[in-house]
Chain length 321, copies 4
């Protein structure tokens, strides 16, 4: 059986670990592994190559994806999907493994319905915004990159009376901001999924300043689009000089953490164990277990942030806990 | 209610996060938090102090334990336990929280039976060797310290034809070695719980060398006491120069990881939520959930390494997978 | 002799190492060391305290400054300087050591002329913008924090065709941006001291893209105020999606590097060796040697970026090398 | 002109930066760059390949050496050197650049005398043991790896009353141990170049313990061969439990620091600027300047540790400062 892998959408740390496992475990199972470079764009353009052990040597500790990724507009046009199909046929590829978010899974689902190329999807996105799935490849590493940055800021924070506003990635999903705020003991957490009450926060902060607090740490998800505003709010309303840190793409990089590596290996093992007899599924992670689900089930469910974490974080939004 | 905390046995990264949560959440719940310094030794000697917010400022990112730890021989002598009891009475302490391994839990269990001081135990040991519990505070950080060291070695490894023997902590328990070997793609993994077959490993390695392998990574748990032997074995039997790295106490230190911090907070929250009405329990972590158990249940069960990991690692011991 | 230390202006990593050396070496020399908290503001307000060994335990590996810092407007008013003088007299402080930039040195120079309190200044600013001085405390650590962030981005960079715009600190001085651009192999470097030619860079980049280049790394100093503009320029003129990372205060933090620690110790040793018989000087570092200079000499000279580095970096500004 | 590069002896972090600069600057100067793989062994065996931009992409942040290294016994036999010469002639290589220690420089010096292949040597060894040269590629990174390990231990150190014995690399040269002991505030420093007086250290330590010291940090260079002995000495004579950390090959790896990268670039630039008209020299670094020297001058001088550092460290050896 010939199986090809592609990475799609935003890259995340740990993709390379999954790619390494894909090659090694494929050979162990007597599959022939192929790489599709540049995501769906590369599939359309036929950038397909047989993969071997050497390709994946030493990549276990590298962020990003060695087979690169893309966002494809052409894919929405059936003509290009047909081209993609013909590229696969030419090389006799039997099935696909895709690493990405649910947009990527939909892309292959449509493709399957049209051309009967079976696939399995593996969640890999630092947004961690896939329904019925608690873990996507890249999340633990991103959280630790943010943590390490905040630890560096903490040392300097107490040197001045200042507010530090840290913008984390997350256009529509505040997962990284939420977990970072809790685990790093931040005073403010703003995420796109939740409202917030600055007046109540102000009241609380002014009280804390009287009790000796001399710095604030605010975590603001990119998608809230309030980073600059919050900086000015601290200066105007709280009377604290304020500084912005926009972590940006650092969050996608960094050496994958231990848990990242373990889970990436397990996600991929399950994908290859099922690609032959149980395809067209998404491997999800729930309650410390891996479960295969139909895409429909995922699409028809709504992604939600972990409730316990939300409860803990509500006071950081000026809301009732 | 007056509650005192102590840390006992080997320290581990994340203890300080739990201590910080202990102080802050105690005040939130209208308990009065106390520190006992130097573990059971300090309890015998009456090193007890009321704790406040200032004591725990900035400790969230520090390894070790600010209230220090000890191993106490005197505790086995009832006379000293009586002294400990009197110290607690003098300060009107109502209950104890202990962070440590199961030896520490037994110590407080005996104490409870004799003097009726209720307690709750929280697993904190990088050995991760407590029955019916999948996670102890310190483990994720230790695993990432080991990973980072191996990543550094990996760069240099391919510069020579060499074998690298890395000794991880773990006197009777190979958990760190086992998970590190799998997540870092090692070629050998020796742990005290399992036998191994060097002849079969030799056969396999010699074959791989023919296919171009030019370095080996061997993870050996401290408790196997074979670190020096394996170094010499590689030189004598495989014909590869070999180098030893003994990571030692680095594994107990380092800034706690994100998961470490989250779990430390959750362990402690549960401990304080139950200390009043449901004491004399150990907070355990299983299947991504926190569960309170009686000490007897834990003592009467046998600790075992995770089966799935063992299966994956058997070939690294020269055993059938 | 009673000597007090203060840190002034922006904090930088390594200040704590110098503070530790200040306390320990003072006692070695039979001086009595004092801390002034909160910089010149604290001097005005009399926040002065005798320092001891315990105060500096464990701070060698922490960024920031444990005695905090400030920027003081009141200092420009003689009335407040008189207050500061009286605070020093009250405690019989004989001399001052100040860590900061040349603004801080001028502040104490005026103070000396008015009240005859001798002082020695030690350069400590991540801007590294003091004339006749090649190294200020904080610089090597800041450079390595930036490097580490860029290394993380590099992994993810090759996963897409993208331009990464990284804003480093430096309001009027491009030192960090300049050295970071060279040592990290960036394609663009914009600093406040130099002009740039985007048309020539565009021409060069388009040629490189034809030859296979698939990502760009642009380092832009904060003071250029073009970070957002450069991002848009890459998208509009080069046709590459572009992302911004604003490192912010991370650059002031982080554990001091080895060189940082060594130099901080040497700066302080020299300051204390000279405070009695050769005061009112600034300790500078030139050609790998420490030299004491009069403030006037420094003020009357012009700070300049290292020539060799500028020559190497000119092509990254679109200028002739 | 065709120029080949090889790395020889122990690898060190920063070699890859020099290799990247070698390729890029060679093309800039219209030289043709070649790689010799596996050091002198590969030269004998003819492992020579033309190098291009792609070979050095992304290696700037990796430890080790992508062209690998070796120690060669065959090289001492003229027959094999003749073979090496013929390999170079076959490919019309005009000159060699070698990265390594002074053993490597001698090897090429003999070769030059016999076969008139000009060369330039660049110091690259974490031992930093080359006479008339203050910096070898790899040293700053190794020092920071050691520092980071000690910082991790420091957190845990104060949790117990313990002595931590850390063995650094350095068979005949104690440079790493010396600088690490000073910059990390260790209590003991043993190096092969110096004697030591344990009785006086014992006396000092016992006094400090009375004054509240509760842990010791001892840095012992590998070449002293006393690591195990010192551990036992602390337990027997000082009455402190003691733990060993042998850092091993971690010290050769890790991402090169900023200074490492800058200096590696400068070393190589000078080598290529002189290979044509001023060859058979070693590039050395002294007083913050790069100087080309004849090998004879280096060989006839004696390597010595920096005097100022030795003076500071003498009390850590129990000697008079």
């Amino acid at each position: 059986m010939k199986i090809a892998i592609l990475t799609s959408g935003g890259d995340s740390s740990g993709m390379n670990v999954a790619i390494k496992r894909f090659v090694e475990y494929s050979y162990e199972k007597n599959f022939t592994p192929y790489f599709i470079y540049d995501g769906l764009e590369g599939l359309i353009d036929g950038k397909i190559k047989k993969a071997n052990y050497k390709d994946v040597r030493g990549i276990i500790c590298r962020g990003g994806t060695i087979i690169r990724s893309s966002r494809s507009k052409r894919w929405f046009d059936k003509e290009y999907r047909k081209k993609a199909y013909e590229n696969l046929k030419k090389q006799s590829i039997d099935a696909l493994i895709i690493l990405g978010g649910d947009g990527s899974f939909r892309a292959l689902n449509v493709f399957y319905k049209e051309f009967k190329i079976p696939f399995i999807g593996i969640p890999a996105t630092i947004d961690n915004d896939i329904a019925l799935n608690e873990y996507s490849i890249g999340v633990d590493t991103a959280l630790n990159v943010i943590r390490s940055a905040i630890d560096d800021i903490r040392d300097t924070a107490s040197s001045f009376s200042r507010a530090f506003v840290i913008e984390t990635m997350g256009r529509e999903c505040g997962y990284l901001a939420l977990i970072s705020a809790i685990s790093n003991g931040a005073e403010m957490c703003l995420i796109p999924e939740m409202s917030y009450n600055l007046d109540r926060l102000k009241e609380k902060y002014l009280k804390e300043i009287k009790n000796g607090r001399n710095y604030f740490l605010a975590i603001v998800a990119e998608g809230v689009k309030k980073t600059e505003f919050i900086k000015e709010w601290f200066e105007r309303e709280i009377g604290f000089e304020s500084r912005i840190t926009i972590l940006g793409h650092i969050q996608r990089g960094g050496a994958p953490t231990t848990i990242e590596r373990l889970r990436a290996v397990e996600f991929m093992s399950l994908a290859l164990d099922n690609i032959e007899n149980n395809p067209n599924k998404i491997v999800t992670f729930c309650d410390d277990k891996f479960i295969l689900r139909n895409l429909e089930e995922i699409i028809n469910s709504k992604y939600s942030l972990p409730k316990k974490a939300l409860e803990i974080a509500k006071p950081l939004m000026g809301l009732d806990g």
